[in-house]
Symmetry: C2
Subunit: 340 residues, 2 copies
């Protein structure tokens, strides 16, 4: 299967090469990010998106703070501290962005080499994060595939696929592995307003991998469920509280309510790094409000009149009572959940 | 209050003047439809939309089949029969399009005058349908306003407003009348993918009438409910079965499920002409599938890759068990429903 890889080191010079996801599905365009600010902007504008990919980009991006070998120790540590804070602020809800950046940053604090040695050390650590993510996706996929029967018609929301990670994704990894294992599958992808990650990204990467996919507006998913056309739902998560409440792309929560209403299993797949021991329940999760322009004129033309208010939360919280199982690289977790 | 009027006779010559709703919210553009085919296309392409307005447009449009006084009786009756069939086929799910067209058509069958007299007779009947609709909207509004408390925060979907009728709307009529009666209100309008009638039309007409309105993507409504920000939902309907199951714009059904989940009243407001005695339950309602391009590239740019499937139903069916009350010009109907 041809699963896309959206993030890697630039082949030439210091830099992080990304597939610019804002250009999909029209163009497969790769860009080399050469500065911390390039990476900050790429995360902020969703050129890189998906919780694990954001973490990898943050970790790789932190090394770019040290591109100048002439920095002395104090300057290097100051540059890294500033870059870590800035990178973590690019998407405040994404817990494993902070996790990955802090992991590289903590290593820097312990390293006593010169700037060049420090940069190599951080670069190795960021590479490990990328490779661990790839292995982690595979494990999530293998655990998740056990929940996907032959012939399954699967509904997903947003993009929790290869485009969101360093590997084959989280929710979509389960689909890729089930397919590798020879099962026949069909995927329905919510388009996922406002930024259409479902139609632009999920449909693109599944289609590229040869998996049949049908796109629908978010409000049409419940009709498919009512007509008996959906066997299970599987989505990703950006943060999972100790009790299993899961923050994910806006529109996930009503999907979970509809799945419950129709008696359809609703699965969340995410790396264990998404579990946040400092968050007891979903009520504590800060929901980022994104720019009104995404709703008001997200397609180049005005779609709402001037002067009206816009409510545009990036995420919603699905309470654990609506989640049939949570799939992580550690296994399939069933309720009652308790993640630490 | 300045409530817009989207359909009227052309001031000069035979014709139906419509506000072209595809141009909103950017331009307030009126067009004169001079032929049956103009009216057919206007309904088909959603330049005129909303169940009652479609009925009025159909009834008024039928008179355009007789623009040529030289037609003899046989030719005139043949022209009307053909026009009635064509107009009714423009939106097969809209029951009161058929109702309004048939009402005018039946009158033609009984009229024995020449073509000019016949045309005047039909024109008078179409005018009565428009005026009755205006009065009916007012009655729906007065009944519906009894369900709207002072300070209410109201969620609506699609556009069941003045832009959908000959008068002040159906769902929005309740809001307009409650406001006229001095209550403070706040409206949240689902943008309503794929064609964005909520952000383009509902937000536009409410804002024009001075009612505070906030737009959101369809998937964000459940988050507002969970946060305790919604006191009631009110939507329109295109067809209501004998048992109270209601067909309305795609995305209504998941909203009703979410409202039930949160214990929030969910109201449907529609003229009694929307009650379809020949449809026992929602299962019998034919759901029109609309063009894939609305989902695939509805905003001038490709939003899904080539080659993927698209599921694009125009409507969904909300079962009566999820509807707290149905408001018509006859009153407020509570379950168990039985419409004949």
């Amino acid at each position: 299967m041809d699963v896309v890889q959206p993030i890697m080191w630039s082949p030439v010079g210091d830099g992080v090469r990304i597939l610019d996801q804002r250009e999909l599905p029209t163009r497969e365009l790769y860009r080399d990010l050469r500065t911390v600010d390039d990476v900050y902007q790429a995360i902020r504008t969703l050129s890189v998106r998906g919780a694990p990919a954001i973490g990898i980009a943050g970790a790789m991006g932190l090394t770019l703070a040290l591109s100048d070998d002439a920095l002395d120790r104090t300057q290097a540590m100051s540059a890294i501290a500033g870059a870590a804070a800035r990178l973590k602020s690019s998407r405040p809800t994404a817990v494993n962005l902070a996790w990955a950046v802090d992991r590289v940053y903590r290593l820097a604090l312990r390293n006593s080499g010169d700037t060049r040695a420090l940069r190599e050390c951080l670069r190795d650590e960021a590479t490990r994060i990328l490779e661990e993510d790839r292995a982690m996706c595979r494990r999530i996929g293998e655990h998740g595939a056990t929940l996907i029967p032959d012939g399954a018609r699967i509904l997903t929301h947003c993009n929790a696929g290869a485009l969101a990670t360093g590997g084959m994704g989280t929710a979509l990894a389960a689909i890729y592995v089930a397919r590798e294992q020879g099962r026949t599958l069909e995927v329905y992808a919510d388009e996922t307003r406002p930024l259409l990650q479902g139609s632009r990204l999920t449909a693109w990467e599944l289609s590229r991998a040869g998996i049949p996919v049908t796109v629908l507006v978010d409000g049409a998913a419940a009709s498919l469920m009512r007509d008996g056309e959906i066997d299970l739902c599987i989505v990703g998560a950006d943060r999972i509280a100790v009790n299993g409440d899961a923050a994910n792309k806006i529109g996930t929560y009503p999907l979970a309510i509809a799945a419950k209403h129709h008696g359809i299993p609703f699965y969340v797949a995410a790396p264990a790094s998404t579990f946040d021991p400092s968050t007891s329940t979903g009520d504590e999760i800060l929901i980022e409000q994104r720019d009104a322009s995404e709703v008001r004129c997200g397609f180049g033309a005005p779609t709402a009149p001037d002067g009206v208010g816009v409510y545009n939360p990036a995420f919603d919280v699905t309470p654990s009572t609506l989640i049939s199982a949570i799939i992580s690289d550690r296994g399939v977790h069933r309720p009652p959940y308790h993640f630490e």
